[in-house]
Amino acid sequence: MNQASSSATPTTSATDHRNRITGFLSDYGIIVAFIVLCVILSVVSPYFLGVNNLLNVLRQVSINGVLAIGMTFVILTRGIDLSVGSMMAFAAMVAASFAVVDSGMPLIVPLTLGLAAGLALGCVNGVMVARFAIPPFVMTLGMLSMARGLTYIYSDGMPISSLSPSFLWLGQGMVVGIPVPVILFAAVFMLAWFTLRYTTFGRYVYAVGGNPTAARLSGIKVSRITFSVYAISGLLCGLAGLMIAARTSAALPQAGVAYELDAIAAVVIGGTSLAGGKGRIVGTLFGVLIIGVINNGLDLLGVSSFYQQLVKGAIIVVAVMLDRSRLSNT
């Protein structure tokens, strides 16, 4: 609830200490919900707590995680980005087209072009929202459609596969036993956490979402901040595009359909308000993990796919209820 109170001042007394702990829990009720979920899953499935499975979960959430982090920036400014799935697919396609085994391109080329493709589309969103005041929902809905169209046109509707091993490493490689996508996700998370917490840009993102008028009156260039968050989201879609193409060994024209829902869900489950100005990247991390753990757990348990949908929906609601009811008690 209270996004600012954790910039804690040095305190000494015991009650202050207790306040900080309950404050932490009510700030991060979603962590409690996550822990409860994990405990339940590890009781019902002996496989859940295995190191390999936990790495699986992390690898599985890494793409949604990267998208959700960009989405957090956007939502903090009261915006929304519906186009993440399509932008990701487009970036994947562009990157893959330069990463096929016999293209002979150095790895840097597909990487750069993939990120650039995402960034470019994100900038278009940003300009239209920030400069031409198109409502974010409409602009990014348009982009959802346009980027998908571009993906079809660019790829002629065909998947691109036979990607070079060095490119595939991005999605399938390991570094000191940790999957590369997980490392990428972690790096993006830390950078975003640091940015939102410690940089002036991060503070301005909160201010623009919290009260755009106040932000403007304080001399903040609101439209520049607004533009930036869409650009960031686009850039991260570019990264997610590289990751998904490398992970599935192919860029598919239909990749990422409906991914916006999971990304937004992670952000909202993590306690960031769609009304802007309030929320945290740590919440998003746990939102992403909750969704991932639910999917993984239901798969591990072999719950029938009909009941999966029912159970998945119910767990999401209950997790958030748990979070919110904690809040109202404190």
Partner: protein
């Protein structure tokens, strides 16, 4: 005569073709306080918003140090050394006090990082200087309106600006805080800062202003030294008609008890509150900021029900659990925060006036627009609400006029008990008098008013009896001759 610090002339601004300002003019000298006077809707805020680059003028020019300037955005005005406390509070609720104060100019590390520690220390120092007892790391949204206002004041003052615009900075704060502000203003003056000051409280103007400028209907009327204009003439010029500033008080309390409150309490907000309200009475509640007055009124209205104690209304047990309960019992409540809890800012005047009495303008659940107009129109006249039409969204109205819409909304419910929390916030002298006259007329027969106000003259002038709150408890009750400023101050602090 030296060049003025800031000079504006011929400023015009219209909204959708409707002129709000036709000829704004103002000359501010360095090291002085300049009172900008005018009735509600005279165009003061519009002029100030133009000066600040929030609005773009249609005509006229602005000079700083004799050089013409044009601010496309507040950013540019701030860069040039102009800061503003805007009339409407603009807090970022989920940021801390320190973050709000330093928004846009945070102490930095390595160019792009916020130096949180230094920011907090500087904020603490600033708050200390201003004698504000606010934690620098409290979330702004958890503060009262008054405290938020003080934070905005602190923000503007700490900017080291050469010109500070203060658009009704005191409308939401108490006497003590006002004194703190004035002390700061004196320090700023001494440093050569020029201050443009807007307030509908005449006492304040005579205390701190050096010069004045009067506007009416969007036009400059006259300017001069404060010392050269007496109160009567100031008011008459502002309103454009003869009017004495006085409290229209002719209600007469009866003997019947209307409402009895016994041992009310809720959380840490207030406790052991027992009082009664007589028919025909205007009961004042006075206290410092944060003394729990508003919270007590919230409880009486069922907006945040009391947790302890009981109440009786006309002898029958009264236990409001939600506003509807209190409304059915004939209670109306003008809250202190018109933007947050009083008005639907995007909706029209008409719809706001009828908001609390929608069933009254409907037959069989169908809204009767004719009835709606019929309901709203008299208030526009009665309260001198200045608006181009009843269909104007309230967010386009001047602040004082918005306040009148809130009053109208509650009067329309035809209550028998009125709870008024700072009822004349931002209202001009003319309309204030109307409101006072109305209050006196209202509190008759079996009707009564409970009023809180931070304006001591208003409390003294209008109340038959005053109950003083201190830290959530009643610290005393004053009648007749005991009703003096000294007693109020003594009991409240």
């Amino acid at each position: 005569m030296s060049t003025p610090l800031l000079h504006a002339e011929g400023i015009a601004k219209s909204f959708s073709g409707v002129p709000a300002l036709t000829n704004g003019q103002l000359s501010l000298r360095a090291g002085t306080v300049h009172a900008l006077c005018g009735g509600n809707g005279a165009g003061k805020s519009t002029l100030l918003n133009v000066l600040m680059g929030i609005l773009q003028r249609d005509a006229g020019y602005v000079q700083i140090d004799g050089r013409e300037v044009n601010f496309p955005s507040p950013h540019d005005a701030l860069d040039t050394g102009i800061a503003m406390i805007s009339q409407e509070l603009e807090p970022v609720p989920d940021m801390t006090v320190a973050e709000n104060i330093f928004l846009g100019r945070e102490p930095r590390l390595m160019g792009a990082l916020v130096d949180h520690r230094r920011m907090r220390l500087q904020a603490e120092q600033l708050l200390r200087e201003l004698e504000l007892h606010l934690p620098a790391n409290a979330r702004l949204g958890s503060l009262s309106i008054a405290d938020m206002q003080m934070v905005e004041i602190a923000r503007a003052i700490s900017r080291d600006a050469r010109v500070i615009i203060m658009d009704e900075p005191t409308s939401a704060i108490g006497e003590r805080e006002t004194e703190l502000l004035f002390a700061a203003v004196e320090r700023l003056k001494a440093r050569g800062t020029g201050i443009i000051y807007v307030s509908h409280r005449m006492n304040e103007l005579y205390r701190i202003a050096d010069d004045y400028t009067i506007m009416r209907d969007g036009t400059f009327i006259e300017t001069g030294a404060m010392a050269d204009i007496d109160r009567h003439r100031l008011i008459t010029t502002v309103l454009g008609k003869e009017l004495d500033e006085e409290y229209a008080k002719y209600n007469r309390p009866g003997a019947d008890t209307l409402l009895e409150v016994d041992d009310y309490g809720r959380g840490k907000d207030f406790e052991r509150v027992s009082l009664d309200l007589k028919a025909g009475e205007i009961l004042g509640i006075f206290g410092l900021m944060g003394s729990g007055r508003s919270e007590f009124l919230d409880a009486l209205f069922g907006a945040a029900p009391a947790e302890r104690g009981s109440a009786r209304l006309r002898g029958a047990p009264f236990q409001p659990r939600e506003p509807g309960d209190a409304m059915r019992a004939g209670i109306a409540y003008v809250t202190e925060d018109r933007k947050g809890s009083g008005l639907v800012m995007g909706a029209s005047i008409k719809r706001n006036v009828t908001l609390a009495s929608i069933p009254d303008v409907a037959r069989n659940s169908l809204i009767h627009e004719g009835m709606e107009d019929a309901v709203a129109t008299p208030f526009v006249e009665r309260l001198q609400i200045k608006a181009s039409s009843l269909d104007m969204p309230v967010k386009q109205m001047s602040g004082g006029n918005q306040q009148k819409v809130v009053l109208a909304k509650w009067l329309q419910t035809q209550p028998s008990i009125l709870l008024l929390d700072e009822p004349t916030r931002g209202v001009d002298v003319g309309a204030k008098r109307e409101i006072y006259a109305f209050m006196s007329e209202f509190a008759r027969d079996d009707r009564a008013i409970i009023m809180t106000s931070s304006e001591i003259p208003e409390v003294l002038g209008m109340s038959d009896r005053v109950i003083v709150f201190r830290k959530g408890r009643i610290s005393g009750e004053l009648h007749g001759d005991e009703l003096t400023q000294e007693n109020l101050v003594r009991l409240s602090s």
